[in-house]
């Protein structure tokens, strides 16, 4: 319950010898070499012997699979299953470790996992952002100048894959893991070890993608289209393994969220009292569970094409490149809503707090989230409008794609009507939420052009579509990601972030984000093709403008990083328990939240949005009072 209940930790040297990140890395590297040389024994010649004429792909796959297994064993994921096999009773003892070292190993406390996610995803977001800077450096000139062509394509692919793979869990990882149990009045997630596993799988995946540079990178971009995938060099194996691990991690994360939200809500927390953020997490989790396995399947087929000489995607041997495109986008389009929906939910969760009004149209907002979640399954072939597949189905996909604007419009309406006649406070998280409206409006309306076949013929595969999805994903997801950081980080770490630096961060980010991506709509209309370091000379001014804006956007991220490190590592000003005067239950708990969240399970009697409807209900049941289940 309290810190005193935790046994004093053993000395540092003893802890380094146990199951932790260090052991995980050592065993991971060991497992990598076991896999690598094991594959030599199975399959003979390897990449080292035959240069670029032929490879032993198997060695790359087995090396990384061995590495991941070693990593997980070193972290201690097998300890509990073995303990159970030997007859020990069920327990969650990994939760009880104290001190800072629990952040560097297997920990089943959902709050620790949330913070691990925040730093882990932040690290890969930073790497992906650096790749973006390199892309814009190359684009300063209409000719290929800064990088060799293959290196440039690898940078583009790593940027896209890193962002799409890692940021999929960008909100569900840190914030849903941390907040959902608290918001529903539970003490843990339904499957705490699986929760930890999702995080460490993601970190292993990130390491795999980063090490693609040792295998020559990959030329396919984040979509990894076959047959280019099939004929690419060994770096694409890292891409396949990365995305497959991300897919497994996403599936488990989604299952865990669904199980937790369905089964562990505290007494009184009916579906209409659930915070809208939890609804957003639930609708996203459903998409994750259903979409990510398709990704794993299509990548497994790709891996078989490369290693076992199957021909799923090889037209010359009876396969079809359409098969890859179809399966990829069956995953890929729900995927972009996996990225967008948590953003919707965060905006709707924060607006009531900062306009001091109840969430307007709660049921409509829920319908909007679920409607997007449902419709996102029926739109994927709009990515294939000019591919020649199913020409007669294009009107249907045009309609279904445009129908998505209706539930998305619900989110806009509920958000706008929540602001209406409110008492709006322009705090840093609120500024990021308001920016969401602008960004997502531009992103959504530019999407209408891409959903319309005649317009899509002009804009498909150009910088227009690239600008469109950066407006929806960076403008939609990343802005709300920062809103969530500024809003909840004081609660999660117990330290306040500097508001002045936060405002500088917001305004520079907002201005330079728009200055970076708005001109790219024009560049796309004028015929600049995506993923190409070469463009016609008349686009040089636009591209120079965009590059300089992008560098300034990068600097604005450094302002945030400075604020974060300064606040958390140096200033360490303790945050108030409820700095925003929020009615949400997590802000009724001390900062940071104690290990077991609640001394007694709370009983809910209303939703958390009763601003202006009299005194806030007392969420946390005092000890000794009649309460719900323990």
């Amino acid at each position: 319950m309290t810190e005193a209940a935790i046994a004093p930790p053993p000395p540092l040297w003893r802890r380094l010898l146990g199951f932790n990140l260090l052991t995980g890395i050592v065993l991971g590297i060991g497992g990598w070499y076991v896999g690598w040389y094991g594959a030599h024994a199975i399959s003979g010649p390897s990449i080292e012997y035959f240069g670029d004429t032929d490879y032993n792909e198997l060695s790359v796959y087995l090396a990384y699979i061995g590495g991941v297994i070693g990593f997980l064993v070193g972290l201690g994921f097998l300890n509990y299953p073995f303990a159970r096999l030997r007859g020990y009773p069920p327990s969650l003892r990994e939760k009880e470790t104290g001190g800072w070292t629990r952040y560097f190993g297997l920990c089943t406390d959902h709050k620790v996992v949330g913070i691990q996610y925040l730093w882990g995803i932040g690290l890969f977001f930073f790497i992906g952002g650096l790749n973006a800077m390199l892309i814009r450096t190359e684009q300063l000139s209409p000719h290929s100048q800064s990088f060799p062509m293959g290196t440039y394509l690898t940078i583009v692919g790593m940027h896209g894959t890193m962002m799409m793979g890692m940021m999929t869990s960008g909100i569900l990882g840190p914030f849903a893991n941390y907040l959902v149990p608290i918001m529903i009045g539970a003490r843990r997630m339904a499957f705490p070890r699986i929760e930890a596993l999702t995080f460490w799988l993601l970190m292993a995946a990130g390491a795999i993608l980063t090490t693609t540079i040792f295998f020559g990178g990959f030329p396919t971009g984040w979509t990894g289209y076959a047959p280019l995938q099939t004929e690419a060099n060994a770096g694409i194996d890292n891409y396949i393994l990365f995305f497959a691990l991300v897919g497994i991690s996403m599936t488990l994360l989604g299952l865990n969220m669904i199980a937790t939200i369905l089964t562990m809500r505290a007494p009184g927390l009916t579906w209409t009292r659930l915070p809208i953020f939890v609804w957003g997490v639930l609708s996203t989790a459903v998409l994750m569970v259903l979409a990510a396995p398709v990704l794993v399947a299509v990548l497994a087929m790709g891996a078989l094409d490369r290693t076992a000489q199957t021909s799923f995607f090889n037209a010359a041997a009876g396969g079809s490149s359409y098969l890859y495109e179809n399966l990829f986008w069956v995953f890929g389009h729900p995927e972009v809503y996996i990225l967008a929906l948590p953003g919707f939910a965060i905006v709707l969760e924060l607006l009531p707090v900062f306009s001091r009004k109840p969430l307007w149209g709660y049921r409509l907002a829920v319908a909007g989230l679920l409607g997007v979640s449902l419709l996102s399954w029926f739109v994927w072939q709009h990515h294939l409008f000019v591919s020649g597949i199913n020409g007669d189905l294009r009107p249907f996909y045009m309609l279904s794609t445009e129908l998505i604007s209706i539930p998305t419009g619900f989110t806009f309406l509920c958000g706008m009507m929540t602001l209406w006649r409110g008492s709006i406070r322009f705090t840093v998280p609120m500024l990021f939420c308001l920016a969401w409206f602008f960004n997502f409006l531009i992103g959504g309306l530019s999407g209408v052009f891409l959903s319309d076949v005649p317009s899509d013929v002009t804009t498909h595969g150009s910088f227009f579509s690239m600008a469109h999805f950066h407006y929806t994903i960076m403008g939609g997801l990343v802005f709300t990601f920062f809103a969530a950081i500024y809003y909840w980080l004081p609660k999660m770490t117990g330290w306040e972030l500097n508001e002045r630096l936060g405002k500088i961060h917001f305004w520079t980010m907002f201005v330079f984000f728009n200055s970076t991506f708005a001109p790219l709509f024009a560049a796309g209309f004028l015929g600049q093709s995506r993923r190409a370091p070469v463009y016609t000379g008349n686009l040089k001014f636009l591209n120079d403008w965009v590059s300089i804006s992008a560098f300034l956007l990068g600097i604005s991220m450094l302002v945030f990083l400075y604020n974060l490190v300064r606040s958390v590592a140096f200033v360490k000003k303790p945050a108030e328990a409820n700095p925003w005067s929020s009615r949400s239950i997590e802000f009724q708990l001390p900062s940071p939240v104690p290990v077991h969240n609640f001394d007694r399970i709370p009983v809910f009697s209303s939703d958390p949005y009763g601003y202006g409807e009299g005194p806030a209900p007392s969420w946390v049941v005092p000890a000794g009072a009649p309460a719900g289940r323990e």
């Binding site: 009507m417 006649r421 150009s462 070469v534």
Partner: protein
Amino acid sequence: MATADPNAAAAPPNDSTNHGLRVVVAWFVLSAIATPLVAIFVGRLIPPGNASVQGTEQVFDNTWMLSVITPVICLLVVFFAYGLGSFRATSDAVVDGPPLRNDARIQVLWMVGTSVIVLFLAGFGTYELLQNGAGGGQGPNPIAVPSGSKFQVQVVAQQWQFTYRYPSLGGMESNQLYLPADTDVELHVTSLDAIHSFWAYELGVKADANPGVDNVVFVKTKGPGVFHVRCAELCGLWHPYMFNNGHVVDSGQFQAWAAKQQKLYAAIKPFMDKPESDGGAPYSKTYFPAPDRRAG
């Protein structure tokens, strides 16, 4: 920041200003001014231009869509300009706003409005698409086929160039694309290795080149001119250099060019697939040597 007084009463609804009416009036005025301006001055600037019937159609389509979304943008602009100005907190004290939770009329109005816009756009796009295919690749069995005779060209994409084959000229091949002016053209796009995308920018044509697939696209050229051809789907190392100029020329120039090409490439003619007139397939999907799996 001051903490909320939990017992503070909600702000009394003494605000009798009709904010809603103001926003609606401002929105109507702004939309009435902005929409015609956008339709007249901005729409026509949108590429790809008027080099082909399909290009003109795309410009028309883009203009319509811009005109439809302009009032939507105006609504958001007016709402936020007005709302963020009028409803800001006036003091540091945390005061609650009026507890408005719902209004069925607004919900219905919003749903009807967005549905009308969406259905209109989908219907409009479908109508435009079915006119003549809108310049997009339609696959082997096209549904929007222009009537009348068509000049056929096969576009063969490979890493990293396009080859054009003219069945009506005895299967002549060239790495330059010349098209006769004022002609209905039927392009058959295919690939020998990875997925490419044939993008004739000024003509408003885009069709993916898939290995083993005959992707048909129609375009009706207008007057003589030059257009850009590039690959619009990442296809490997030298993807950005899959770039060339194409030409629309009048029929005399076209015949002259064709004769010159036939002479130039006469030496390789015996190695190519038989033309249709000699009993060969109209569009060969493979070449010799066969595409190599490790072409990258």
